[in-house]
Assembly symmetry: C2
Homo-oligomer: 599 residues x 2
């Protein structure tokens, strides 16, 4: 089995050479505390922790899974010990508010660490990962007292957090939430109801668990406008912060599922559990968006992690495994066959993985720099610009990078041939673990409706034009650059087509709102391919400049240019299918009567 | 969990209305013994057996898996009992040679049963399924004596068979086989070596197992021209057919794998095991092709099974699950939300599944009628025609129907949202079980090389033109039929494009043989979409004729037409991406130096 190795060189390329991260941090923080030395040290330590502590438990964690016994959940061997080390190392507090014990580093740096941690062991990463959303929610919407009691311990990692949205009858449609909250005389609330699919909802890794729960107050309006948000700790917290008595929230069972088996997916039963309101009554969904945005960017990263791990495994095998001769003549005549990396179709699979992994990484990190601006910038105009861009790109990144991550993961198995299906090689686990990524935190269909319906059409195309404007400027500025002319020419043309296509969909949707749903996934995938093309063109520009400057890392930069070229020539043409598919229209989706689907 | 229900109406549509199977059988057999009554009775009994005996063990078999203990393999609870009933019911002998106890029915009828059996429980179906290849090999290449001893018991189902090709160092590249065979004084051979990935290689369901084994004789030429084929029984056979002493072939272990967990995938160690040559020395690979063709068509069916099962599960859920309102207004106002089948994107997924399942079924059955002709026709010209068509279509069916089956299976999970990831719903098992189908019996890459390299370019395009000629004739004959004009117009244009594209690839390949590998998978997928478009146009023609005649099954035929239309408008545009991807060329695959793939 291929052991995960952090792609440090590529991470540095994106952070330093593509995004100019040092300068970005210094502008936002107004000082030079977060300099290159610190950044690289964080990456290096994060890489070590991921490779040495987490990767070795990835396969064993999958085999062992989590165990439930009368409400108590035991995580796989080594998980708790690794978590203790993670806390000792100060990792949970990286991006936390300094006022509550955090190190106050920009969240993008934490995301880089999250990528490495998640690649090494996605299941493990979900325990601290869920806390990040709870932290963001409390930072934005918690009272000072709530922050003091809960945030401090979440930031230190002493406690972990969860996100309790889903119920048996509702997932995407949170308007159907039935969990009830009734106010007690002391100002607290009694929460009752059943939540399902709660990741890290119960486990043995931390002293206490802070559940962030959606519930309805008595007489609240129906639907999404009548939902409030509550803190419900596993153990009630005594004055001074120590654990008090056990709250009446119990883990009823954990799910048996396709993958991420070492991550406990819990049914939580709230039986008059004591909770505390976060934010205003009936505005819970708005507060929850903070949480959901963090989670969506985190899930985009899961696609990158899957692509990276599958690429590493497939590349190693493709260099080692001997089978058949190159059709253009033996490349390894002294052996009985050539390594399979000589075969063009094996290279097509490897390059697809590489294009998705490296392109996805750059897109995610770029998104994280927007989040930094939203969090830290004092310039309102800049914040608004970043916020609009982030709102537009997030559903694209979440859906497109998880879908492409799955494709890359599947190629990981495919390069191994029949061995890819065998557990010991580790490739099939990547597919099983990654398969959840297009389902949770909003399915691909939900992201697509969010993109096309809410972000594009509801803003009359403004958010789209903000982004295509950036692309247009980039293409114009580099139109005369011969090194990337093939890319900019193609990109400019697709960029214009994107806007035109959007206008057509918008016109159709004015006649019939269902047109949005009929077009949405093809629209999102088209958008994803173009967005990644923009990222690849930007990376190609950096690489070609470095080569022109006579860099001594010729192989690295040449590979960047070649991967960009591969992406443009062999992957980007998929936009043709999505555009034509979308133009296939709505009627052929809606005409069939429900009873006629099957006989 | 959705229980599998055999799609009898659709099976009958394909057999009777599309393929005119009764007439086809009568022409081949020269009598009317295999009439509609018999055909429908076989389908109905096969459906009952599949639904009642096999489907209920599908999930439990996955959970329990197979167990290995010191060379003995135990299959999951109920597997042996179901196999006994299968044998009692005479199912294994359906297509067998009458001279050796078979019922002599055309193999296509057996394939219909195989579809239902495989949909109900793919893992179980592999035990009798592997026997079919052994039967075909012995029927074609066995001596009379070998047939009497082995074939009779394989046909009755008393024994099962295997196919021992793969070794640790070779899968696709059988030229690297190392297993040795040395002749003994009594004319038998001593076989020594290790075979891996042997499905049904050891189990507790039958009295004896007949291994068909590839091995090398001393001094045989290197590569594929030095491989011979042997029968190696698990128990040596005594005069009269009873089991003699245990042969020295042992199951060293079974694999832990992503899916088909109830199918034992064995490592077999041959230690001077007694074997018998089949066919001429060093011609083993040619004899094995008989086996491999049967297996490839069988694996195509696995794609259909996956699509059908995932469609059934997703459709049931989409009708039941309530979430959100239709964007064009409530469709279910008395309930708190609409069933998700109102949402266009859910319909897109369901219709994709339906188009692949029903189209794939028709393509497979068509292929099976070609196999009937090859087996049974006395008309040499007709046999040659069928053989050429079958040679051309088989790699397309194997690769395209398994790839599309996987896509359909994945949509099964996607329609369920997060629930799709949970084992109890059964959708994730379909994906895990189906994932092997693009790997075994020749990966998608291998099928693509077979199609483009061997079948198309090596015949100077003759096999392609045979098939595109059929499509051209069909389009011309129906050019004036308004009911399917949208389809025939599009099909005729793609058909012409297919030939043009092939010529371009052929020209490029004359300069550089690697062009074949660079184009192959895109070429195959393009071919698959066009081939399925042909099948859907034919089905649409039948359906529109029935509607014109005033059929009282208006819903059924209307759905056929609508599915065809959906396929043409929303799926077929993918040809654009494959054509443009292929035209992206070879250079961007080959330019990168091996050391530059990763840093």
């Amino acid at each position: 089995m291929t052991q995960y190795k952090s792609p440090i060189r590529d991470i540095q390329f994106v952070l330093h050479e593509l995004l100019g991260i040092e300068n970005h941090y210094q502008q936002l923080l107004g000082n030079d505390e977060v300099n290159r030395e610190l950044i690289d040290a964080v990456i290096e330590e994060g890489a070590k922790f991921s490779e040495n502590e987490l990767a070795p438990m990835n396969q064993s964690g999958d085999e062992e899974g989590c165990h439930w016994d009368d409400g108590v959940v035991t995580t796989p061997k080594g998980f708790k010990e690794a978590y203790d080390k993670y806390v000792e190392g100060g990792w949970p507090s990286l991006g936390g508010d300094k006022a509550f014990g955090g190190q106050g580093l920009p969240s993008s740096l934490g995301s880089v660490v999250s990528e490495m941690v998640g690649s090494a062991n996605w299941s493990w990463s979900m325990y601290p990962g869920l806390s990040q959303g709870a932290v963001a929610t409390l930072e934005s919407h918690g009272t000072e007292d709530q922050k003091k009691v809960y945030l401090t311990k979440l930031i230190s990692g002493q406690w972990t957090g969860t996100m309790c949205l889903t119920e048996p009858q509702c997932g995407s449609d949170l308007g159907l939430v039935r969990t009830k909250a009734e106010q007690n005389d002391d100002g607290s609330y009694s929460i009752s109801g059943t939540k399902i699919f709660i990741s890290a909802g119960e486990h043995d890794m931390a002293e206490n668990i802070v559940h962030i729960v959606l519930a309805r107050l008595p007489g609240a309006p129906e639907g999404t406008k009548g939902i409030s948000l509550f803190i419900v700790p596993k153990f009630n917290v005594k004055e001074g912060g120590a654990n008090g008595e056990r709250n009446t929230v119990q883990c009823g069972s954990i799910e048996h599922k396709m993958g991420i088996k070492a991550s406990a997916t819990c049914v939580l039963n709230f039986d008059n559990a004591k909770g505390f309101l976060i934010g205003p009554e009936n505005r819970g969904l708005n507060c929850m968006f903070t949480f959901m945005n963090v989670a969506r960017v985190g899930t985009s990263l899961q696609g990158v992690c899957a692509a990276e791990c599958a690429f590493q495994g497939a590349l190693e095998y493709a260099k080692d495994r001997l089978a058949m001769r190159s059709l253009s003549g033996p490349k390894n005549p002294e052996k009985e066959a050539d390594p399979i990396i000589v075969h063009p179709d094996v290279r097509r699979m490897l390059l697809t993985q590489k294009a998705f992994a490296e392109g996805g990484r750059a897109l995610c990190y770029y998104l994280c720099t927007l989040a930094d601006i939203i969090d830290l910038s004092k310039d309102e105009k800049e914040v608004k610009k970043a916020d609009d861009l982030m709102a537009f790109i997030t559903p694209i990144a979440k859906a497109f990078l998880t879908e492409s991550g799955l494709e890359a993961a599947s190629y990981g198995m495919q390069v191994y041939g029949g061995h890819g299906f065998i557990s010991e090689w580790g490739m099939e686990q990547i597919v099983r673990d990654a398969r959840i990524s297009t389902l949770y935190e909003g399915t691909t269909g939900i992201q697509s409706l969010d993109l096309l319906g809410r972000k594009v059409l509801l803003t009359q195309g403004q958010l789209l034009r903000n982004f295509t404007g950036l692309i247009e400027t980039f293409c114009k500025e580099n139109a005369e650059n011969e090194a990337i002319k093939e890319l900019t020419t193609k990109l400019a043309s697709l960029n214009a087509e994107w806007v035109e296509m959007t206008m057509k969909v918008g016109m159709a949707a004015m006649q019939n709102q269902d047109e949005v749903g009929g077009a949405s996934v093809d629209y999102l995938m088209y958008s994803g391919y173009v967005t990644l093309a923009f990222i690849w063109a930007k990376m190609a520009l950096v690489a070609s400049n470095k080569l022109a400057e006579g860099s001594d890392e010729k192989g690295f930069y040449t590979a960047k240019l070649q991967t960009a070229q591969f992406y443009y020539r062999r992957i980007l043409p998929r936009t043709l299918a999505h555009k034509a598919g979308l133009e296939g229209g709505l009627a052929c989706l809606m005409d069939m009567e429900v009873d006629n689907f099957s006989f």
